[in-house]
């Protein structure tokens, strides 16, 4: 990983036309789409992400990349995304997008949350949900207009379910619901996307559609960061990969980084001492004691030490 060019601001591009939209255009700046510096995230003082540094591959050549974020359960994949988006507070560190802080880059960023995160019985149609992606360009009090509805329809068309636009979302299949979420993200017209497991539990046809949509985004210079579970499909679908297990084990082009050794480091032996120290920070009972006992052979009688397992944490209520 190369060190990032220090904090290039949006003013570094003199050739962008000085109008109001220039402010929203990332332009051919050297700043990476996403730059994560020293980010630590903690729930109840217990760190779930340790000092993460990451730079998404530059899209200044006009070509974006598809980046998979992989790692075992509890590795902090979703947390990393949420931390970038400002949905969970950072304990330390900072995140920049195209060289700008989050506030100045909101409209360049799109988001696909996990499908389970919403109530699908909610009284809205597929088109209504997709139109939510357009709210970013509307004022607080401006209602959704005709142009927005047409744009929403066009996005549904791109994911192949324009015929279901008027369906209540609970009457869609899981794959169709995921397509609605992807369409809503497309309606955001962002330059950088965060997607939380877009392939989880979808049918083969939806999978193919989403892959095609992501590929066309990358071809248009858009960067997509995907939390991903299926290791097998990583080389086929993604250009870059981030191997994460509470810290970044390795990151880079799939061909170089997605190696058995790195996967072993990510999924293999747990760094129990780190986990225990984390638990101790959270004041979990007994964890502090067992840190010292860790080098001793595992006890054959009595309670198995549970300290090696990650303690259950309470997700902060949204």
């Amino acid at each position: 990983m190369m060190t990032p060019t220090p904090n290039t601001t949006s003013k570094t591009t003199p050739n962008t036309t000085p109008n109001t939209t220039a402010n929203l255009n990332p332009g051919p700046s050297a700043a990476p789409p996403l730059s994560v510096r020293d980010v630590t995230v903690a729930y109840q003082r217990r760190p779930v992400l340790w000092d993460v540094d990451y730079d998404a591959p530059s899209s200044s050549t006009g070509k974006g990349s598809l980046v998979a974020i992989v790692g075992p359960n509890g590795a902090g994949k979703s947390t990393l995304i949420k931390a970038c988006l400002g949905l969970v507070p950072l304990a330390t560190g900072r995140v920049e997008f195209f060289g700008r802080p989050l506030k100045a880059a909101r409209r360049l960023i799109g988001y696909v949350p996990q499908r389970e995160s919403v109530d699908w019985e909610f009284p809205v149609s597929a088109a209504d949900v997709v139109a939510m992606g357009r709210y970013g360009r509307l004022g607080w009090f401006t209602p959704v207009g005709r142009a927005d509805k047409l744009a929403a329809l066009a996005c549904l068309e791109k994911v192949g379910i324009a015929d279901l636009a008027d369906r209540q979302i609970g009457q869609l299949s899981g794959g169709q619901q995921q397509r609605v979420f992807i369409a809503r993200a497309l309606a955001q017209e962002a330059r950088l996307y965060f997607m939380d497991e877009p392939f989880a539990g979808v049918d083969a046809a939806t999978e193919a559609t989403i892959v095609a949509v992501l590929r066309s985004l990358a071809d248009a210079g858009v960067t997509v960061m995907c939390v991903h579970h299926d290791l097998q499909s990583v080389p086929r679908w993604f250009d870059h990969v981030v191997l994460l297990n509470t810290r970044v084990i390795a990151a880079g082009p799939v061909a170089q980084v997605f190696t058995p050794e790195n996967l072993h480091l990510t999924y293999g032996p747990r760094l129990t001492l780190l986990e225990q120290a984390g638990s101790a920070l959270a004041g979990v009972e007994g964890a502090g004691v067992s840190v010292g006992l860790r080098s001793a052979p595992a006890p054959t009688t009595g309670h198995p030490t549970r300290s090696g397992e990650p303690t259950r944490t309470r997700e902060p209520t949204p």
Binding site: G86, Y111, F122, P123, V124, F194, P318
Partner: protein
């Protein structure tokens, strides 16, 4: 007062002929009901029903404390602005306490809300007993704040309720899309830089406003019902957010209008209770009779599906028996061999699939026979597909095909045909398992059939 007089009086109130005050109360409460129903729709969808209840209960100590403080300062504690200000402050405090408590690690949000609700209400009841000992406290009518008494309301207070209702309705109209977004997907709202906090705050603030203004009319115990029940009823009638809000507002307004009228005619009935009962009746009606999600509609749909399945199975049975006998599907022998049970025959009669031959033998009509053959073909194709593509054995394939064949869809049949590599419909495929057809036991059938033919 006789029943007839009461009814006439009630009609007068409902038709706004009950005098100036009664008219004002009817209209004011309807406006309040509309705003409660409208904001309640968002509260329900945001799962804020309990917090609305907690806030409403939290207003009681505020009302009592305001009276005590005013009396202590030598002012008139009965003045409504004073009491409602107290209610507002206490409601805000209650809401803040809930927020603070739900951050405590060992307390869940509902635990926090239930605790706050009970403690604040308890404090209110204790303070009320203090109020009783103060001069003028007994006649202050503070008890009306608990269960509501529309009759005690002055025109000025009705105007206040109306103003508040219009504020809430305007607020909803202005912020409609942000309120909807934060209710549906708060995470996305925040990630997209939408004013999620403001929208959430607006929902709670409007709930509080409606609660405080509705205190006298509906009472703090039941105001939450006025916010939540109309919304719950509205969910049964539509899949559109804006319609949910509108229907909820209409149900809220109607319940208040009708309920306040009843309470005005029968002065001893607490207004809150009559209003809530009206709303409850609408919910019950919606639950039962709504066209799509109502219990009745769902029952009817399930029954119709059952009939359709029974009919298909009966028709296919006849076709398969005809095949086993080498007879025509319309022949009386085939029908007799099928040995259909009485309910099955009834179902076929119901759908008009059966006619009688001159010697009164039941046979399938031509259309029904064609349908029976089509069903048999669908069943066999599914069986073939299950055996060849999904590697099921024929017995299981038969059972699964029994279910699949009801996916009555031309597209499926075309795809099946393509998957099985069939050209055109072709002859009827053979069954992969024995059909269990027995020749008709009664020669009488065969004889009568022969007689018909000649």
């Amino acid at each position: 007062m006789t029943l007839q007089q009461s009814a006439a009086q009630l009609l007068d109130v409902w038709l706004l002929r009950g005098g100036h005050t009664a008219t004002a109360v009817s209209l004011g409460s309807a406006l309040l009901g509309a705003s409660a129903g409208a904001i309640g729709a968002f509260a329900l969808l945001r799962r804020r029903a309990l917090i609305a209840d907690a806030i409403a209960h939290a207003t009681l100590p505020g009302v009592a404390a305001a009276f005590i403080v005013a009396a202590w300062l030598g002012a008139d504690g009965r003045s409504l602005p004073v009491l409602l200000t107290g209610a507002l402050i206490a409601g805000v405090l209650g809401g803040i306490t809930v927020q603070a408590l739900s951050r405590v690690r060992l307390l869940s949000e509902d635990g926090a809300m239930a605790s706050v609700l009970a403690v604040f209400f308890g404090a209110g009841v204790v303070l009320m007993s203090v109020v009783q000992t103060l001069p003028g406290g007994g006649q202050a009518g503070l008890k009306n704040f608990i269960f509501g008494q529309a009759a005690a309301i002055s025109t000025g207070e009705v105007m206040l309720a109306g103003a508040c209702a219009i504020t809430v309705l305007l607020g909803i109209a202005l912020l409609f899309k942000e309120l909807g977004l934060v209710c549906f997907d708060p995470g996305f709202a925040r990630a997209a830089g939408r004013p999620a906090l403001l929208a959430d705050g607006a929902i709670v603030a409007m709930l509080l406003l409606v609660s405080v203004v509705g205190l006298q009319m509906v009472g703090l115990v039941m105001i939450v019902a006025l916010q939540i029940i109309p919304a719950a009823a509205a969910r049964f009638w539509t899949d559109r957010l804006w319609l949910t809000v509108v229907i909820s507002a209409v149900i809220g307004a109607a319940s208040c209008y009708v309920g306040a009228g009843i309470s005005a005619v029968l002065p001893r009935t607490p207004t809150g209770a009559t209003i809530v009962l009206c709303a409850g009746a609408v919910l019950a009606l919606s639950l039962l009779a709504a066209p799509r999600y109502g219990v009745l509609a769902m029952g009817v749909r399930r029954a119709l599906w059952g009939l359709r399945v029974a009919r298909s199975h009966a028709l296919r049975r006849v076709a398969e028996c005809a095949e086993g006998l080498g007879a025509d599907a319309q022949s009386p022998e085939a029908f007799a061999a099928a040995g259909l049970t009485r309910p099955h025959r009834l179902v076929l009669r119901l759908f008009g699939d059966i006619r009688l031959t001159p010697s009164a033998l039941p046979v399938l009509r031509r259309v029904a026979a064609r349908r029976a053959l089509a069903l048999t073909r669908a069943h066999r194709w599914w069986e073939q597909y299950l055996v060849s593509h999904a590697r099921h054995d024929p017995a299981h394939a038969d059972l699964i095909a029994d279910v699949l064949e009801h996916a009555d869809n031309e597209e499926f049949m075309e795809q099946l045909q393509a998957e099985l590599g069939l050209q055109g419909a072709g002859p009827m495929p053979a069954s992969p398992h024995p059909l269990g057809v027995v020749a008709p036991k009664f020669n009488a059938v065969a004889e009568a059939a022969r007689a018909d033919r000649t």
